[in-house]
């Protein structure tokens, strides 16, 4: 049976739909498009008319939300619970402070140095979600960002919907977050694991296959921008409000759903050298590529054969320096992981300045 494939742009990235039967492709595509439109209208941080924007602008008031956004918020809160706050939807304001204020395609890659302060996100516990009533309230000034979960959640939903509509096994990939539903091809759904989801199929990486669940990859090598000479990336440590130190350049995880895979891959980037044990403990097969290009496979991820290396590390001393200095200053704080001590936050030692000069 010939696998039919189609691609289109969605959610600020590319969507790829694969169906076991070519005749079922139109139905599957239609279902995926409608699902992604619904997710975009509910969860986009960059659309002023989205439900999430309405929540972010509510100034601490309770807002009525749709069942879809309710579910997306439940997914985000579950991610926070599962990761002890390493994946936290209240980092929206921290992203804004670092200049990530618009859709990445339109974001200026270079800009002036940003005045900044060490910023701790309000914390996911401050989200007052009433799923039964369909309402949510966040503290005044807090902003939610569902980037760590919404896309993978959308992939899961879209795959399920496409399968229901087409009646054939489907794969849905949203910017590298991959969910499958229904029957798989005999050889499984083949997936190329790389640093960048826009890469060609022969890009450096590894080819694997799955039959169910999902695969997600988080990487610090994409969605990078510069402010005042410092290179930033989009995966923040909620404890500091700054890009996570770059211990791994790319982490790929397989799980029972794309959502779980993406939560784990994002958390692994933030966890740094603690990630392999953390993933293995949760029986999540993963492939971690270090900034030194060393590849680590855990929990049953197939070990790859790498005849030669194509990747050359892009020297980025400023971001690495920033990361290491933050790492050195981190001090565990009772109750929350990796918080800066209050005296440091109030002093000029870290309280103001520019990211890098």
């Amino acid at each position: 049976m010939e696998i039919a494939t189609a691609e289109f742009g969605a959610l600020g990235t590319n969507a790829r739909v694969m169906v076991l039967d070519a005749q079922a492709l139109p139905d599957a595509l239609d279902a995926v498009r409608r699902q992604l439109q619904a997710i975009d209208a509910a969860c986009s941080r960059f659309r002023p008319d989205s439900e999430l924007s309405r929540v972010n602008e509510a100034g601490g008031q309770t807002v009525a939300i749709s069942p879809l956004l309710t579910q997306a918020l439940e997914v985000a809160l579950r991610a926070s619970r599962l990761t002890d706050g390493i994946v936290d939807p209240t980092i929206g304001d921290a992203l804004l402070r670092l200049g990530y204020s618009s859709d990445f395609a339109s974001l200026a890659r270079h800009g002036a140095a940003l005045p900044w302060a060490v910023y701790t996100s309000p914390g996911w516990q401050m989200i007052d979600l009433d799923a039964g009533a369909g309402t949510v309230r966040i503290p005044p000034g807090a902003r939610l960002d569902l980037g760590a979960t919404a896309k993978a959640f959308a992939a899961d939903l879209a795959a399920a919907r496409a399968y229901a509509a087409a009646g054939q096994g489907v794969l849905v990939s949203l910017g590298g977050d991959i969910a499958v539903a229904g029957a798989a091809p005999l050889e499984g759904w083949t997936i190329r694991i790389t640093d960048d989801c826009r890469s060609a199929f022969d890009a450096p990486g590894q080819t694997i296959a799955i039959r169910s669940g999902g695969v997600a990859t988080s990487s610090t090598t994409v969605r990078r921008w510069m402010r005042g000479g410092a290179t930033l990336h989009h995966i923040l440590d909620p404890a500091t409000g700054l890009p996570a130190p770059e211990h791994w350049r790319t982490v790929s995880v397989a799980a029972g759903s794309c959502t779980d895979a993406n939560i784990a891959s994002t958390a692994a980037i933030v966890l740094g050298d603690r990630a392999p044990a953390w993933l293995a403990e949760r029986r999540l097969p993963a492939r971690l590529v270090g900034v030194d290009e060393l590849v680590l496979c855990v929990a049953g991820w197939p070990v790859e054969v790498r005849p030669e290396s194509h990747w050359r590390p892009s020297a980025d001393p400023l971001s690495l320096q920033l990361a290491s200095s933050i790492d050195a200053l981190e001090e565990p704080h009772p109750g929350r992981r990796g918080r800066f001590p209050a005296e440091l936050l109030e002093s000029d030692a870290l309280g103001s300045g520019e990211l890098a000069r």
């Binding site: 494939t5 790829r16 694969m18 699902q35 209208a41 509910a42 439900e51 749709s66 069942p67 879809l68 579910q71 439940e74 997914v75 896309k151 899961d156 795959a159 399920a160 229901a164 990939s173 910017g175 991959i178 969910a179 539903a181 091809p185 499984g188 759904w189 083949t190 997936i191 190329r192 790389t194 640093d195 989801c197 199929f201 990486g205 080819t207 694997i208 296959a209 039959r211 169910s212 669940g213 695969v215 997600a216 990859t217 988080s218 990487s219 994409v222 790319t250 397989a254 799980a255 029972g256 759903s257 779980d260 939560i263 784990a264 949760r282 029986r283 999540l284 097969p285 991820w301 197939p302």
Partner: protein
């Protein structure tokens, strides 16, 4: 029966072992015992009485054992019947429980329970599998080497 030795039951062999042949004074064959041909030897008569008593005891033991065996067989048959009944009931219950569990499991898989409609006509998946699982869900099967040319790419975005 060997005088001065261990009494042996008539009808169950009756002959002394070869190593006792020299020590035996006389071997009593089963048919001669019935008539008690040793009346002129009081000690032999006593032995005969003891032997008779022993025989009657063994016979009652046999009868008792037979009755007990029959009782046990009856009980075993009852147990088997009861077990069969229980097996049938457990089977029916098991099929019911398994069927229910299968339905619940199927409906809790991602996206299987698509039911309601969200705002603006947007479909919403009512399955709670994405939101209520208390822990990470590992994959049903670990990834394996891919070989097909039709593929998707998983990378950072």
């Amino acid at each position: 029966m060997v005088f001065g030795g261990t009494p042996r039951l008539p009808g169950r062999g009756g002959h002394p072992p070869a190593y006792m042949a020299g020590a035996c004074q006389r071997v009593i064959e089963p048919e001669t015992i019935r008539g008690c041909p040793f009346e002129d030897h009081p000690s032999s008569v006593n032995s005969y009485r003891i032997l008779s008593l022993f025989q009657s005891m063994m016979a009652s033991f046999k009868d008792m054992n037979r009755a007990e065996q029959q009782e046990r067989i009856r009980r075993r048959d009852d147990d088997v019947r009861r077990l069969r009944r229980l097996t049938v009931v457990a089977g029916v219950l098991g099929i019911g429980v398994f069927g229910t569990a299968s339905l619940v499991a199927a409906s809790s898989q991602p996206g299987r329970a698509i039911a309601a409609t969200g705002t603006a006509g947007s479909p919403a998946v009512q399955s709670s599998s994405f939101t209520s699982q208390p822990s990470f869900q590992p994959p049903a099967e670990v990834p394996f080497r891919g070989r097909s040319r039709a593929m998707a790419v998983s990378g950072g975005s």
